[in-house]
């Protein structure tokens, strides 16, 4: 039995067992099982060894699950649980397996809403799925950010990539408002912008996966964008240069998001496999579905907002 206890400790680094010395020191101390921090230490060490040796897998999009789970996700935990106190509603509407397209409203000047949604699904969904998000090309053009985005499972928002992900049974997240949504002024909060050209709907139709409307409340208030310095935006090549009550006034301090209380509601899946062959080539159907998704999200946003008493306390 003592040996059976030892094995899970080294399970991630099987090579250690194969090449290393037999596990005699452990046998000498057969009593207490390894404590929680020891297991965590073992996990960290195994992770570091894998990284140094390049012993991990990435998929064709550059997604590195090992890095995402061990390095990129953990720092989001306090932000998700303590700072924004995110509450998810209707998580059962996200399927446990198979392709699905999650469509959400975009807001908050910086795409924290996307990050929090991805973290929420990874941490709280029973199947702990990775949300594969579609990002703007500006993201992938930017050094460091672009590489990180790929490693965290994102890819360029284009139909070939979306369809490839959906076909291989991934859960794909898309924020069709794009920069128009995330960079809209504070006075327009919770007003959905145009939903692109409906490219995401045709991708779902072509692959026959359900669309899950997702409404995020709380992200609008993290950086209330009250102004936009166009000249600076042009200089840096950004789509906008935000002015919030604290940024750039307080410098880096102004970059701390306001601790609003968040709700993320996943709506009922909208089926797309009932429209038959060639449905993606019917522009009217695509427009109607796009509108339906948009309306569902907008109505859910209004409902959540009426239920909310306070921006920060919920």
């Amino acid at each position: 039995m003592a040996e059976a206890r030892v094995i899970p400790l080294h399970a991630p680094g099987r090579r250690a067992k194969l090449t290393g010395v037999p596990a005699e020191p452990e046998q000498a101390a057969p009593e207490a099982p390894p404590s929680e921090w020891e297991e965590r230490l073992a996990g960290v060490l195994a992770f570091l060894r894998r990284r140094v040796q390049g012993d991990y897998e990435v998929d064709e999009f550059g997604f590195d699950p090992d890095l995402t789970d061990h390095v990129l996700m953990p720092p989001l935990k306090p932000l998700y649980e303590k700072w924004f106190r995110v509450e998810t509603i209707g998580l059962h509407n996200v399927p446990a397996t198979g392709g699905a397209l999650l469509v959400a409203n975009h807001s908050g000047t910086l795409p924290l809403d996307a990050t929090m949604t991805a973290y929420g699904i990874r941490a709280e969904h029973p199947a702990h799925r990775h949300l594969r998000m579609l990002g703007a090309d500006l993201v992938f053009k930017t050094p460091v950010l672009g590489a990180l985005a790929r490693k965290s499972g994102q890819t360029l928002a284009c139909n070939p990539d979306a369809e490839r992900l959906l076909r291989s049974g991934e859960l794909v997240g898309v924020w069709p408002e794009g920069f128009k949504g995330i960079g809209k002024p504070f006075k327009d909060r919770y007003k959905l912008q145009r939903f692109g050209r409906g490219g995401f709907v045709s991708a779902a139709l072509k692959t026959g996966v359900p669309i899950i409307p997702c409404s995020i409340v709380g992200a609008e208030e993290i950086y209330p964008k009250i102004g936009d310095i166009k000249a600076l935006a042009r200089l840096f090549g950004f789509p906008y240069f935000p002015v919030t009550p604290f940024f750039p006034l307080l410098g880096p301090l102004g970059a701390i998001p306001l601790p609003s209380k968040w709700y993320i509601e996943f709506g009922e899946p909208i089926r797309t496999d009932v429209h038959g062959e060639g449905a993606a080539d019917d522009p009217m159907l695509v427009f109607n579905l796009t509108d339906q998704v948009r309306e569902t999200i907008q109505q859910t946003l209004y409902r959540l907002l009426t239920q909310r008493r306070n921006v920060f306390l919920g």
Partner: protein, 345 residues
Amino acid sequence: MAPKVVLVTGCSRFLGGHLAARFAANPDVDRVLGVDTEPPPRDLLRRMGRAEFVRADIRNPLIAKVIATAHVDTVVHASVTANPAGPSGRTVMKEMNVIGTMQLLAACQKSPHVRKLVVKSTSAVYGSSSRDPAVFTEDMGPKDLPSSGYAKDAVEVEGYVRGFARRRPDVDVTTLRFTNFIGPRIDTVLTRYFALPVVPTVLGYDARVQLLHSEDALAVLERATLHDLPGVFNVGGDGVLLLSQAIRRAGKLPLPVPTAAVPTVGRLFRSARLVDFSPDQMRFLNWGRVVDTTLLKREFGFTPRWTTQQAFDDYVSGRGMRPLIDPELLTSVERTVLDAAAKLR
């Protein structure tokens, strides 16, 4: 139907030479002609056995005479290359690639015996940029046409090949778009790159690299020649390595270079005769490139034996590269720390 007389261009290089050797070993093939401007190295020549070497420049109309008099029925154009012969070899390389292909195709068009053409192309024709889809299928084109270097050569070569296919519809044309080759025996820009003591990378970027084992490349070229499989096919191993990951697996130290300094560093390495990177290959180090090989597996009927990762590992072990930090040491450090932790309990 198996070909009777095969002509292989670029037979003094790895792919062409070994391909000629394979055909020479095949009793169904009556005659094998290898063409190149310089004779193959001795060990390659020995492998080539009964294959005949024709010292000719495919830029010269003489090649038409060779094709016509020998009754060549299958031409394998394997000489299009990304590896310039020297620091000043890039102009020559371009001439060989583009003008050579034009001459060769003109000769093929003239000869009534030719009924099959196999062209070694490259996935570089898809270009490499941040706005590209993650995975290229055969029907996609580059976002912006490569403006120089090997990628542009390849785009032009493919253009001429399409023109030839239009004018000679009776000839089966197979265009193979290979990803980068790797393997213990082959010598390419990429194998030299990973063999550098410190490997320069572009700061803030991590390319997705798809590789093909050189043996798989040979097998694909051989299959395309011996069977009638016309069309355009992407050829690459399964799976992807990130550039940073590959460098770690090779046990090398990366040297991140800011984007602004990349051309300077590139020139430095070029003049030091270490690696000759053209601008399009440097872009490749930024973004990388992955191609879809569904068509290769389903219609061409070939599944690469090595995945990208296995091919790279084969290259690393075949070249005798040692990891920077001994794996044994790593595991022993890991154990020591864990044992110390257990004692602290």
